[in-house]
Symmetry: C2
């Protein structure tokens, strides 16, 4: 990242595989999926994010994630598809959210505020316009938290510094894939709409 | 679709698996992927699109696509996850783009204009603001064309009634997954940014 020309972003993204809810609102650790790594890395690279953290406490899931990333960074994948290599260079696999925050604080040289996302909404949620404004000020670092499964637990939502407003469509249906939600959120915050 | 309350959209989406380019700009038919069907169906449902066409000339790929859709519409998937069922009810598998256009014209009761998308840009490309304005007028029907592989062929781009501006991020890198591009495009055209 650091050796790319200018434009070092103060925004990064973390995909949490724990703690998240399952269908029955039990707290679980979900499995890492190949396409979550690829799609969100490509979104992160396209919009110039500082980093993309894949968060899972399960060692074998960490190893799987690192193997996927290594394949495209260093294996024949890197030669086959250099664009994919550039995206996957943003990925860091970590055990906990705290580890992601600490790593990003080191990388960006200052405190990081966490921004939870989810379909549910919250009393204290921040609008996209307000969050875009905070980012435009350029004086603070932010880490977007995305949940897999049925979403981030209320414990994570409560601990987050900010909660972003949910993405609403045309009606009550609101069940985007996390890959799609990530793309929409980052575009709303950083995209050139022209 | 038709029995949902009001808000019948005049926008639909088609994912073309042929004709598209491969890495070396050869015209190919790509394989259908499970997550392309699911993710784009969930985006389509969230934003109230009229329909989502999966376009492939390959019979076994059509059969695979229909099997995936059937599983979630009628199989145990429908009971396990009714939200997924609602999204996959929007999916229609067709052989060609013309078949998609004809089907949508029948469904919406009027002519349909095709709107090509791609990362490349074109002289005659329409901005998101202009396209949002066209949709807001509410007097014409539109079908967004998304390409798999390395994108829609120039033949498809030339034949399209409109070409939407590419999604640009912070720099030259512009390699979003088609699932992510679909989410961003539909959100830009129909999302409530609040």
């Amino acid at each position: 990242m650091g050796d790319e020309a200018g434009n070092t972003s103060r925004l990064a993204v973390a995909l949490l595989h724990y703690p998240v809810y399952d269908k029955n609102r039990r707290v679980v650790a979900t499995a890492v999926t190949n396409l979550d790594i690829h799609d969100i890395a490509r979104t992160a690279k396209t919009f110039g994010l500082a980093r993309y953290y894949v968060v899972t406490p399960l060692l074998e899931q960490q190893e799987l994630s690192r193997r996927i990333v290594r394949h495209w960074r260093e294996g024949w994948g890197a030669e086959y598809n250099p664009k994919r290599k550039a995206a996957l260079e943003l990925v860091t696999v970590v055990t906990t959210l705290d580890e992601a925050v600490n790593d990003l604080e080191r990388e960006l040289g200052g405190p990081v505020r966490t921004v939870a996302t989810g379909a549910g909404g919250a009393l204290r949620s921040v609008s996209y316009a307000a969050m875009t404004g905070l980012l435009a000020r350029g004086d603070e670092n932010y880490l977007l938290l995305l949940g897999t499964g049925w979403g981030l637990t209320s414990e994570i939502m409560d601990r987050a510094d900010l909660i972003l407003a949910p993405i609403t469509g045309s009606g009550a249906y609101n069940h985007l894939a996390v890959r799609s939600a990530a793309a929409i959120i980052v575009d709303r915050l950083l995209g050139n709409r022209h």
